[in-house]
Amino acid sequence: MKQINAGKFVFTGELEPVKTMNLEEVIEGAKILKDHVVAINITDNPTAFGYMNALVPSYMIQKEVGVEAVYQVTTRDRNRLALLSDLLAAGALGIKNVLALTGDHTTVGDTPQAKPVFDLDSATLVYMLRKMIDEGLDLNNNEIKNPPKFNIGIAAAPNADPLEAEILKIERKVKLGVDFIQTQCVYSVEQVKNFLEATSYLKTPILIGIAPFKSISMMKWMVQYVPGIKVPSEIQETLFKAKKKGGKEAVYEANIEIFSELLRGIRKTTNATGIHMMAIGFEWIVPKIIERAGII
């Protein structure tokens, strides 16, 4: 947050603790990202897949790698009591940033029979966090001894249609008090411009989400299943052609070219606070994209 407040163009990264008790991959990913990002998000059962709890890897990348974590917290799996417990634990472990999310519905994940909780939503979670941080109180005004100090982040969907409803929803949360916004992935500078223009009145730092494609099948999956994802046909065609010509390696190279170009465009023509890079499982591409863009 210090670098954001100082007006520096920043990058954040993202890591996914998967269905394992092994922390090595997260640690390795954090090491790759460390010199290029100011913080790394640790996801909380993304798309409702049951993975390792996000708090432990958040703590471990801070302790072992020395990079700040953005501890993602969804309201899907825990009620307000459990959320409070985990947030106090996060504070005790030195977590500085929390991304407050509602979370994807259980039925889209790998355990669709689970009872969805949603006792709170992302807005009421922000409300609870603010009470904890600003007043040292829980939701029922009970005193918290030594309350945590977090920077609060929220997510936003620049692809949302209708966008007006999305903007008003963000406004609702910003009014409660949030420190930064990270967006879902976007694939065109135009989209970034539209979104930043529509949200400029909120005066909140916004990091634009960028997610390169690990493979052609991942791109197809995202286009088909992720709500609101719009991948311009030129990008799709370039990647298809690359795959035909040179296989996997050529797809990676095309990714670096496409996304460094996008990054350059965002940096040069918008007033985005920074970029949130999501390259789950191929973190090595993040430094290459940033270097190719040559904008640091």
Partner: protein
């Protein structure tokens, strides 16, 4: 309206097997209006049960089919059923879960069998020929703030501050994009009414004690209790 749906016949046959006599009771309330549990359906079920016994070559029980005004009214149910219940080994109710339980209470110790599954509180959309859940009876109505559309019931996550990122062009990702996103419906409804201020308003965490079971209203004065 309380929306009910008849159980599979095999289930009803299983629950009614070996009975010597059976009183089938329809309900003239919701179940009758949606043509699932009125007098006509009671008569049809009587015929089906008799046919099933005949096909199996079993002895046909004595079956009577009637319908009463409201199964969910203790006094109505008691008045209508008390003169009959002793003549039958069991009562098959075509009412909702409330009706079944009311009859079970007033017709002790006669065995009670539910013929229906109670689905939800909803509306009958005759144009589309379907029933739609609209209210969860959560105990704390916010329909004023949400343009007359209940997010507790119609949002898959029951969000108080939606929409979430799971909607696309007004459709919810839960259920494969077929269902409307309640929060986009709310947005459009409030926009049409020029009340987007209500949309942007923050709604604090819900008090789930209000929807915690079991719930009761009134009845503090025991003298007023209706005798069965």
């Amino acid at each position: 309206m309380i929306i009910v749906q008849q159980k599979p016949l095999n289930e009803i046959f299983e629950m009614t097997k070996n009975l010597k006599s059976l009183l089938i009771v329809g309900c003239d309330g919701c179940a009758s209006i949606i043509q699932v549990g009125g007098e006509r359906q009671a008569q049809v079920l009587k015929t089906l049960l008799e046919m099933e016994k005949k096909v199996k070559g079993e002895e046909t029980p004595v079956i009577k089919a009637i319908s009463i005004l409201r199964q969910c009214d203790r006094q109505v149910a008691a008045t209508a059923l008390n003169p009959l219940r002793e003549d039958y080994e069991a009562i098959l109710s075509l009412g909702c879960g409330v009706g079944v339980q009311t009859i079970s209470e007033v017709c002790k110790p006669t065995l009670i069998i539910p013929a229906n599954d109670t689905k939800f509180l909803g509306m009958h959309d005759t144009r589309k020929g379907k029933f739609q859940e609209l209210c969860s009876a959560c105990g704390e109505c916010i329909l004023f703030e949400t343009g007359g559309i209940c997010p507790i019931t119609r949002c898959a996550k029951s969000l108080l501050n939606g929409p979430c990122g799971g909607q696309s062009k007004g459709k919810c990702e839960v259920g494969g994009g077929k269902n409307d996103c309640a929060w986009i419906l709310i947005f459009n409804s409030l926009k049409d009414r020029n009340r987007l201020d209500l949309f942007t308003k923050f709604r604090p965490p819900k008090d789930y004690r209000l929807s915690g079971h079991p719930r009761e209203i009134g009845g503090e004065d025991e003298d007023q209790e209706v005798s069965s």
